[in-house]
């Protein structure tokens, strides 16, 4: 007996976000960190902050932490992204 069966997946990709234009250099730039707030983010972002400043000449590092680590970033954090040149979003798991 043959079967004609249906595909259970959406068949189309999820709407993807668009990458911001890539930076030529980090020199003098402002980089934002968005942490999910878990314990593992602390050491990672502290170290990354130092590397970006010392080795890449980043001028400012702005650290923000989500109020709910299982939900999207809070609107006030998202609004702030416009004033950054680059953003690193990190999980602490």
């Amino acid at each position: 007996m043959t079967f004609r069966v249906l595909d259970p997946t959406p068949g189309t990709a999820a709407p993807a976000g668009q990458l911001a234009p890539r930076l030529d250099t980090l020199q003098g730039k402002t980089v934002g960190f968005i942490s999910n707030g878990k314990e593992g983010t602390k050491g990672f972002f502290m170290h990354l902050d130092q590397i970006l400043r010392d080795e890449y000449g980043v001028a400012n590092v702005v650290s923000r932490t989500k109020s709910n680590y299982s939900a999207p970033a809070d609107p006030h954090i998202v609004a702030e992204i416009k004033s950054w040149d680059a953003v690193v979003s990190g999980l602490g798991d």
Binding site: R4, V5, L6, P8, P10, S70, P72, D93
Partner: protein
């Protein structure tokens, strides 16, 4: 004149396969299953589900709030058929997904979390009887066909519509058996209590679905008393254990109370609200107790702080279910406290529904 079957256009791609074994291998090899065999989702079977709920295939059930994924009736039906659902089960699947897509349920977080959460589905109202959904023997396990296939459909939809596959979106460190199927029908005929859905504001007599982002059931036993306070103290102690060993985040907890213990509570005149008030008072710990279970590092200077399992009594979901004998019960803890809230939605069959009331 054209019948419905003539004008229905399903959007899903089709695959022609030689026999039932090939069907199974096709679905397993594509990662479209939960590891168990599936029922072949043929066009006829899917259309029968859509006919039952009077929805066109492209009926938008909702848009998943975080990733913007559109969930259509057709895709829910394909996965429901695979899970073993008959058309009569499909309204429950649609309603459960409607509930899961409410923002307060936080579906993406709950299903992606390392915390190993499953979606607990509680059925209330006359549809339980129409489906043969049993809230008796072996509730929370393989009690009956309806709860088994409805719970499985929820998981297959998550896998296939949201890529909630282990290691993909599903980042669970540990899962639990409820991630195959986690559905229970309340035993409304054998209790004097209000049904859960009515307690939570659904219209009296309406068939309703409640979803909760939940950990595994924690089973308990107390056959040595008839006093309501002592019975409930055992439940509260299990919740305190969860606060100590798992997470102090307050939120929705569910209590599954089978008949033997329920009858003592009912004989004492305890309503679900009375139970919730008692539990809210008793299910709480001091932060310093963490030091007793190996978590002393996070007690810090807040040892005297008190952590209740729930912010308020109405966060407790009391469900009458379980076999007629045995002094057992179960506490079902939240995935991660108030990060996700239980949602109750009455089952409706309509093409142009308004959003569910909060």
């Amino acid at each position: 004149m054209l019948g419905v079957e003539d004008i229905v256009q399903l959007a899903s791609r089709t695959h022609d396969v030689d026999d039932i074994s090939a069907v199974q291998e096709l679905y397993h090899s594509n990662g479209w299953t939960d590891g168990l065999p599936i029922v072949p989702p043929t066009r006829e079977a899917v259309e029968a589900c859509l006919d039952w709920v009077m929805m066109p295939p492209d009926q938008l059930i909702g848009i998943e709030p975080v990733r913007g994924l559109a969930i259509t009736a057709e895709k829910l039906a394909v996965n429901a058929v695979m899970a073993g659902c008959l058309p009569m089960h499909f309204p429950v699947v649609v309603t459960a997904w409607t509930a899961m897509m409410q923002e307060e349920f936080l579906m993406h977080g709950a299903t992606a979390s390392t915390g190993g959460c499953a979606v607990l589905v509680v059925l209330n109202g006359p549809i339980r009887l129409e489906l043969g959904a049993s809230g008796g023997f072996n509730a929370l396990g393989n009690s009956d066909r309806a709860t088994a296939v409805i719970g499985r459909a929820i998981r297959l939809c998550l896998i296939n519509l949201m890529d909630v596959r282990p290691g993909a979106i599903d980042r669970s460190t540990l899962g639990h058996p409820g991630k195959f199927s986690y559905c229970v029908a309340e035993d409304e005929e054998d209790t004097t209590w209000l049904p859960l859905a009515e307690q939570r504001g659904a219209p009296k007599g309406a068939s309703s679905v409640t979803v909760m982002a939940a950990g595994a059931p924690r089973q308990l036993m107390n056959e040595w008393t008839t006093k309501p306070e002592e019975i409930l103290e055992t439940f509260a102690a299990e919740m305190r254990a969860n606060l100590r060993h798992y997470s102090i985040h307050p939120g929705n907890y569910a209590l599954i109370i089978p008949k033997q213990l329920r009858e003592h509570l009912q004989a004492g005149g305890w309503s679900k609200s009375d139970i919730a008030t008692f539990i809210h008072e008793r299910a709480r710990i001091h932060r310093r107790e963490w030091a007793e279970v190996g978590k002393g590092a996070v007690v810090r200077d807040r040892g005297d702080s008190i952590y209740p399992a729930m912010d308020s009594p109405d966060q407790l979901l009391v469900v009458a279910a379980g076999g007629p004998a045995g002094g057992f019960g179960a506490v079902i803890p939240p995935w991660l406290g108030n990060k996700s809230h239980a949602v109750t939605v009455p089952i409706g069959v309509c093409v142009d529904c308004e959003p569910p009331k909060k």
